[in-house]
């Protein structure tokens, strides 16, 4: 029995490794000469990036291999792989993750005048370690039967007791909320931000939800009247039900501008194909890609010269918060601590 087992074990191990060698694993031999490919680790969901990569490959002949994962896990994995990492690019959503990857020394400088021309400075790392590639605005969604758009002014105003029992929020575990709070800390300092957060918590109609989608569903069902979402989630809802009573309104137009975040990317320090990586990021910042990038997920292009998708354009012009997004990353941990202290679940 022992022999049988030993053979079984060995064959299964060998079998499985053989399989994994067959599949196009980036191998260490390829390090010297640049292959005609580029390897991307991405925390952006695959159905949002694959069409872009396919288009890039078709235009340039460079193959894009990508691996998805949660941002913190990918960052940990990159650290574990060290100089042997097959990856050339790290692509994430949320500026906090990009800042952290940069802080951990995972990126090399982009060195690209193309990117600098295409993407405005507040969406890029001041040290050129990463760049934003799409902009996501987090703002009010409300039930148009119950609220007039002029009643909605600022994130801070949602803490006012007049919204008691009318507010729905996504969980504070969402990185989008943490970044929003981080931006508020930068503006108002911790004590004032804590007051705002406590106000939000007091006004909640129901326990914070797991996703932005649930916030909109709750408003539709009459559980609450107003919430905060990333606009592309609303875009999806609107595309499915064009005459939805839910509407978007822009936050903080008279003050700091609506809070934005980015999805973005940087070239990894240990990239074996840095030139291909640069080409891909430059291409992603270019007009063709930015058009698709936005259209795929109804986000805002990071490149301001791009004409908006008609559905997105219909939501109107808005003033963006100009705070450099690295600052959001730096303050994220403080934001979380504050969130925990005020008991925002």
């Amino acid at each position: 029995m022992k022999k049988i087992l030993a053979t079984l074990l060995t064959t299964s191990i060998l079998g499985l490794t053989a399989c994994s060698n067959d599949s196009a694993t980036p191998s260490s031999e390829g390090i010297q000469q640049e292959d005609n490919k580029v390897v991307v680790y991405s925390s952006r969901a695959e159905h949002l990036i694959k069409p872009l990569f396919d288009q890039f490959s078709a235009e340039t002949g460079i193959e894009v291999q990508f691996q998805t994962g949660r941002a913190n896990a990918l960052i940990e994995r990159l650290r574990a792989e060290g100089a042997n990492s097959p990856a050339d690019i790290l692509m994430t959503v949320d500026a906090g993750n990009l800042w952290y990857a940069a802080d951990q020394g995972l990126f090399q400088t982009l060195n690209s005048s193309i990117v600098e021309n295409n993407i405005p400075a507040h969406l890029r790392d001041p040290d050129q370690l990463w760049t934003g590639l799409s902009v996501r605005a987090r703002t009010f969604v409300y039930h148009s039967d119950k609220i007039q758009p002029n009643q909605l002014t600022s994130y801070e105003d949602l803490a006012d007791p007049k919204w008691q029992g009318r507010l729905c929020l996504r969980t504070s575990g969402s990185v989008y909320n943490k970044s929003l709070v981080a931006a508020m800390i930068d503006r108002h300092g911790e004590p004032k931000t804590a007051e705002v957060l406590s106000g939000w918590v007091n006004n909640l109609a129901t326990k914070p939800t797991a996703r932005d989608v649930h916030v909109m569903e709750a408003i539709l069902a009459g559980q609450c009247d107003v919430g905060l979402v990333n606009t592309y989630y609303y875009g999806r809802l609107e595309a499915d039900t064009p005459n939805t009573p839910l509407k978007l309104a822009w936050a903080n137009q008279d003050t700091t501008g609506t809070h934005i975040n980015v999805s973005g990317a940087g070239i990894l320090k240990h990239a074996s194909q840095p030139n291909n990586a640069r080409k891909l990021i430059e291409w992603l910042s270019s007009e063709t890609a930015q058009q698709t990038y936005g259209a795929l997920n109804r986000e805002y292009p990071a490149n301001p010269t791009i004409k908006l998708d008609p559905q997105v354009a219909a939501w109107g012009e808005y003033k963006q918060d100009q705070l450099n997004l690295r600052q959001v990353g730096v303050l994220q941990q403080k934001a979380t601590m504050l969130i925990n202290r005020v008991g925002y679940e």
Binding site: M1, K2, I4, L5, L8, L9, S12, I13, L16, T17, C19, S20, N21, S23, A24, T25, P26, S27, S28, V39, A45, E46, H47, Q65, Q67, T68, G69, R70, N72, A73, E76, R77, A80, E81, G82, A83, N84, S85, P86, Y100, G173, T206, K207, P208, T209, A210, R211, V213, H214, E217, A218, A221, Q223, Y233, Q333, T336, M337, N340, G343, E345
Partner: protein, 531 residues
Amino acid sequence: MNSKTIWQISLWALIILISLPLLRLLSAWFEPNTEIWQHLYDTLLWTLVGNTLWLLLGVAIGVTLLGVVMAWFVTMCEFPGRKWLEWMLFLPFAIPAYVLGFVYLGLFDFPGPVQSFLRDTFGWSGLDIRQGSLSIIIVMTLVLYPYVYMLARNAFYSQGNGLIESARLLGYNPYQVLWHVSIPLARPAIAAGVMLALMETLADFGTVSIFNYSTLTSGIFSVWEDFRSLQAAAQLSTALLGIAVLLILIERWSRGRARYDATKRMNSRPYKLKGAKAWLVTALVSSVVFLAFILPVSQLLIWASKTLVEEWDSRYLDWISNSFMLAFGAALLTVGLAVIVNSVRMQARLSWPLKVGIRFANLGYALPGSVLAVGIMLLIIDLGELVAPGAGIWLSSGVFALLLAYMVRFLAVAYGPVESSFDTITPSMTEAARSLGASTPRLVSDVYFPILKPGLVIAGFMVAVDVMKELPATYLLRPYGWDTLAIRIYELSSEGLYDRAAIPSLMLLLLGLASLYMVHLINKRYKIRAR
């Protein structure tokens, strides 16, 4: 060195390999994170601990009740539809908890169709089912009761008719038989099933996060993501290990001296129910099958029919084959490991350090897959720094790290059934075969293997299905080109695209059912004849 010593040494080597990731996590305590701990202590810690214990208690009661009662009905009673229902009660095992979570939330939460209907027709004011812990306990119970059901059902069958007949002669009614005969005899099996369900509950991240219910496991994620501290996350995860140890001790204690004696067989069902009583039982059992299986699957089918065109992709074939290969490979390795441990155990009394080592190696089941994966990554980082620069390539060039993670995580699942099959081999069997002149290979192939086979197949099946459903470790450790169905489900559902996630969910379910059918075919010959 004689062969026994060699086996003992190799056993130690295997146990250490399995325990290394756990030890690496424990070693995180060498680097204190006072600031983070102070913050946790001031804010979340007690909520996390309280929520976790509350959830465990609820799930323990839920799975015991459902698992034992269902198992007792199908083994002891004859009622309409019994044969079908007996099999259907297994099926929820193939549904990942997080899938049932998002289906139930979609159906039953305030905005869902059920409450909308109640509000529109009866003017009901509505209810947020995510408040409190009841709904998450129900969801977890509905996916995890099969662990108890499976083991209790086997135990009830193997009690034989004799005792029950005697109890009836003494004037026991069915409830007294259940309480005073069946349950006490099946206690070790029930305890083992509850244990597995609780370990799974402890490690769950997907389901609790859909309900925004904070547990120690979600706390670990938040410490990792928010405070960017793997060390503190690893420290917090040792709290999970602590709870798991406590559970194991409770299980050992509750077993008492009861021993699982599987030599007898039922040859007929003692209670042939008639009329209203029979239909009542049918209704009760069917309602469990309905809630845990038919309802969620119908919802998934409705969603899938709307999104099939948009979501279908030829890469699904790859994802299916990856899910299958990983599940199969991990099942083989894990069951193999359990068999090696047990065959050494059979040959010689184990020293107590070895016994403790084996128990320790079984703890991985209580850890969230991602934490375990982190333990493995930390190990690889250490390895790279200390001995072999370039060890990181192990992560990206093969499935070694991933298979190791599966083995550590699911050894406990395989260990139980394998251990109890080994326990059915009595010294007298070996002696009898020896005295008839059987050589060692013949002893193994003609005596041991047939006895062990059903248990090994069940163990393999349970590991395989668990691996297919496993998300976090796979997501972290898979090499390029090894995406699975579970990963697709996660990617879609994390974007809120639940209707599209129905497609990979159903495929995963089919794959699980196919494995269950394979088990049925392989073990057919050993099926307990109940008629």
